[in-house]
Amino acid sequence: MDLLSNLSLGFSQALSLQNLAYCFIGALYGTVIGVLPGIGPVVGISILLPITFTLPPVSAVIMLAGIYYGSAYGGSTTSILVNAPGEASAVVTCLDGYEMAKQGRAKAALATAAIGSFFAGTVATAAIMLLALPIARLGLRFTPAEYFALLFLALTLVGTLATESPVKGLYTTLIGLFLSTVGMDLQTGQVRFAFGSPWLLEGIDFIVVAIGLFAISEVLVQAELIHRFGLQKREQISGQYWITRDELKQSFIPYIRGTVLGFLVGILPGAGSTPATFFSYAVEKRSSKHPEKFGKGAIEGVAGPEAANNAANQGALVPLLTLGIPGSATTAIMLGAFMIYGIQPGPLLFEKNPDFVWAIIASMYIGNVILLILNLPLVNIFAKLLDLPAALLYSMVLAFCTLGVYSMRFAIFDVYLMIIFGIIGFFMKKHDYPAAPLLLALVLGDMMEQGLRRALTLSNGDWSVFVTRPICLVLLGIAAVSLVYSMSKSLGKRGGPS
C-alpha cells in the first residue's frame, strides 16, 4: 500500500542513528522549554534556529518538530507543580492539575498528562498521515484567489479566537498586517516603508519580532514578577502510585474526546492549541456526572485538555505541511525554518520531497515514545529545573536571544528591533493585547496581499474571481460570518445588561 511504503521509507530515515539523536535532543530540549515558565516553543525554536543551519534539513526539522511537540508535554509539569503554566496552552491544566498536586496526587496528575499527551500525539500523527495527502492534492488546485481567501479566513480566526476580546485581537492583526508591507513588493519590485535602510529591504524579519514579542517581553514580565512577589515555591511530586487503574479509566474517554476535538481545532488555520484546551475543558465539564468536582482536582480536567493540546499541535502541522500556511505562532517559526533549509512547504512538498515529509512523520511516532519516557519516569529531573534561580535563567534567555538574532545576518539593527518589540510586547502583555495575531499577520500578511494581487493580475483586474470560485466563496463566507459573529458578541457585551 502507498501509505505503508511511504511510512517505511520515513522510518528507514528517521531510525538512522543521527536522526534518532536529533529527535532525542529535540524532545529533551522541548520538554525543558515546556517546563520553564515563559519560554515556550516560539522562543525555544527561535533561539536554536541559527545553530541548525549547518545540519542536514531532515535532521534539523526532526529536531525542531521534537521541540515543537515536546514543549506541549513539558508545559503541564509546571502547571501541575507550580500553578504557573509553562506555556499558554497549559493554562487550563493549572485548574485541576495544581489542585491534585495540593491534595497529594501530583503523580497521578503528571501521569495522566503524559499518557494523554502520548495518546493524542500518536493518534494525531496517524491522522496527519491519512489527511495530508488528500489536502495537499486539494491544495494543488488552489489559485492565488483561494490562497487569498484561506489566508483571510486564517487571520480572521486568529484575531477573533486568540483572546477573549476580538477587538484587541483584530487591532494587533492589523498592526501585523501593516508591518508585513515593509520591504520589497514582489509584484512591482518596489520597496515600501524601508526609509532608505538596507536592513528593511527584505522586510521585517518575523523571527526578530517573535523573539522580541515573546521572549524579551517575557523576561521583562518575569523580572517584574520576581521583583514584586519573590520566587514561587513548587509542590513536591507526591502520591504513592503513578496512576491507578480507576484513574486511567476515568481519563480514557476524555483522552479520546480531547484528541478528536484538539485535532479538528488545530487544523483550522489560525486557531492553535490554546483554544483547543479551553474547548476540551468545557466539554469535559459539561459531559461529566460531577461537574462540581472540576476545579477541585478532577482528573478529567487534566486528561482532556492535555490530549487536546497535543492533538491540536499535530493538527496545526497539516495546513503547514500541505498548504504552506502556518496556523499558530510556533508553526510560523517552523515555516521560516523550513524556508531557511530551502524547503518550501505546500502541496508540492509531498511530490518533490516525499522522503523528507515521511521522515518527519515517522520521527513523530518515535519522538512521542521518547517524550513519554522523559516525562513519566524522569519527570523528577525536569521538575528540578523549576528550582533554578529565575534571575540566572532569564539572563541566559536574554543572552541567547541577542546572540541568536545577531547571528542571523550580523546586523545590530536586528538586535535593536528585537529590543523595541520586546518593550512593545511587555506593554501588550500588561494590557492583554495578544501577540500571536500580530506575529501571524506579519507572516501571512505578505502572502495574503500577494495572493490578492496575483489573483487580480491574472484576472485582468476582475474582482469577480473571488466569488465565482466555489472554494473561495465558502472560505470568504466563513470569514465574514465569524467576523460579524464575534464583533456583535463583543459589542453586545459592552452594550449593557444582556
Binding site: F142, V191, P198, G342, R409
Partner: protein, 332 residues
C-alpha cells in the same frame, strides 16, 4: 642615545592602523602579492543560508578545500541579501585581497532599478562561473506550438494572456524577449511569485498562460509532461533528452539571449595579483571532478569565463537597464 623619538612612533602606529584597517596586511605582502594568499580568505554569500548564493558559495569553498587548491581556509559568511550585501562588500572591503563573493544577474538588476546605489563597477568582477537558462513554458496540453504562436496571442490580447514567474531576474527574461518581439511590455499582466516552482501552479491550473523561469527549476514538471517548453533563452540549445529539441529564442525568430549567470567578485579595487590568483584558481577548480559533481547535483550549467568577462558584464548591465526602463521598474 635617541634611537626612537615619540613622533615617529605615532606615525608608525597610525600608518600600521591604516594599513591593517584597509586590509592590506603587512607591507611585505604588498609587494605584488608574493606568497598570496597567506591569510584566511572570506567567501561572502550575500543571502540567507540555503539560498542560491549560499549554495554556490559553499560549493566553491568546499571544492577548493576538497581539491586542496588553496593553502588557506575559506569560511563562508552569509549577508542579508544582495542589496545590503553589496553595500557591505563595497564599504568594508576596499583594496582587500582577502575577500571574494558570489553575485549574479540579480546584482545588475538591483542597480538598474535603483534599489542598490552600487553597480558592478564598484566591485571587482573576477570570473563568470555558472549559468541557468530561462524558458517560456506552457501547460502540456496548451494550444501553442511555437514561441511565435504565443507571441501572436500576447500581441492580440495582452490582458487575457497573463504570465507568471519569479519576482526578480525572470522579469528580465520576459521583458527582453517580448519587447524585442515588438510588444508593449507594460501591457503584459505578470503575476510574480517567490520562485519558478511556486509560479508553476497558476499555469498548471490555467489561470496564467505561460511561465517564465529557469528551466532547471521546473525540470520535474517537464519530466511529468505537465509543462512544455516553447523556447529557451541561451545562445545554444540545452542538452538532455527533454530539452535538446527545444529551439532557442533566436531560432524562434526573436534575436534575444538571456542567462542568469553567477559570478565571483572581489571588493572595490581588489589588487591585481589577487584577481589573477583567483582567476587561475577558479579555472583549475571548474575542471575538478568535485566541481563537476556539484554541477550535476545542482543542475548548474558550466559557463566559466575570464577572458572577455568585463565586456560581457557591461553588455548585460546595459541590457538589464534597458529592460527595467521599459518595464517601468525604475525607482522614482
Amino acid at each position: 642615545m635617541k634611537s626612537f623619538d615619540g613622533k615617529s612612533f605615532w606615525v608608525f602606529i597610525v600608518a600600521a592602523a591604516i594599513l591593517s584597517g584597509s586590509g592590506l596586511g603587512s607591507p611585505a605582502a604588498m609587494a605584488a602579492g608574493e606568497g598570496y594568499p597567506s591569510k584566511t580568505v572570506t567567501m561572502i554569500a550575500p543571502s540567507k543560508p540555503g539560498s542560491g548564493f549560499d549554495t554556490t558559495a559553499r560549493a566553491i569553498a568546499n571544492t577548493l578545500a576538497a581539491e586542496k587548491l588553496i593553502p588557506v581556509s575559506m569560511p563562508v559568511v552569509n549577508m542579508a541579501g544582495s542589496v545590503p550585501g553589496t553595500a557591505q562588500i563595497v564599504l568594508r572591503y576596499k583594496n582587500d585581497p582577502n575577500m571574494v563573493a558570489v553575485m549574479s544577474l540579480t546584482g545588475l538588476l538591483n542597480y538598474a532599478t535603483g534599489m542598490s546605489p552600487y553597480s558592478y563597477k564598484d566591485t571587482t568582477p573576477i570570473a563568470r562561473l555558472i549559468s541557468a537558462y530561462y524558458g517560456i513554458l506552457v501547460r502540456y496540453d496548451a494550444p501553442y506550438k511555437t514561441l511565435q504562436d504565443f507571441i501572436r496571442e500576447l500581441k492580440e490580447k495582452p490582458g487575457e494572456t497573463p504570465l507568471s514567474g519569479g519576482f526578480s531576474d525572470d522579469r528580465i527574461c520576459y521583458g527582453a524577449l517580448f519587447s524585442k518581439a515588438g510588444i508593449d511590455i507594460t501591457k503584459i499582466n505578470y503575476a510574480a511569485f517567490s520562485g519558478g516552482t511556486d509560479a508553476s501552479g497558476v499555469v498548471l491550473e490555467g489561470a496564467a498562460k505561460a511561465l517564465v523561469t529557469s528551466v532547471d527549476d521546473v525540470i520535474g514538471l517537464l519530466e511529468a509532461k505537465q509543462l512544455r517548453v516553447l523556447a529557451v533563452s541561451g545562445t545554444r540549445r540545452l542538452s538532455g533528452a527533454l530539452l535538446q529539441d527545444v529551439p532557442t529564442f533566436q531560432e524562434s525568430g526573436v534575436d534575444v539571449t538571456v542567462e542568469n549567470f553567477r559570478y565571483v567578485m572581489g571588493g572595490p579595487n581588489m589588487p591585481d595579483y589577487a584577481v589573477k590568483y583567483w582567476q587561475a584558481t577558479l579555472a583549475k577548480m571548474v575542471k575538478t571532478p568535485t566541481w563537476q559533481e556539484n554541477l550535476k547535483r545542482y543542475r548548474w550549467g558550466d559557463s566559466f569565463m575570464v577572458e572577455g568577462f568585463d565586456r560581457f558584464i557591461a553588455q548585460q548591465q546595459a541590457m538589464v537597464s534597458d529592460v527595467v526602463e521599459k518595464l517601468g521598474m525604475k525607482k522614482k
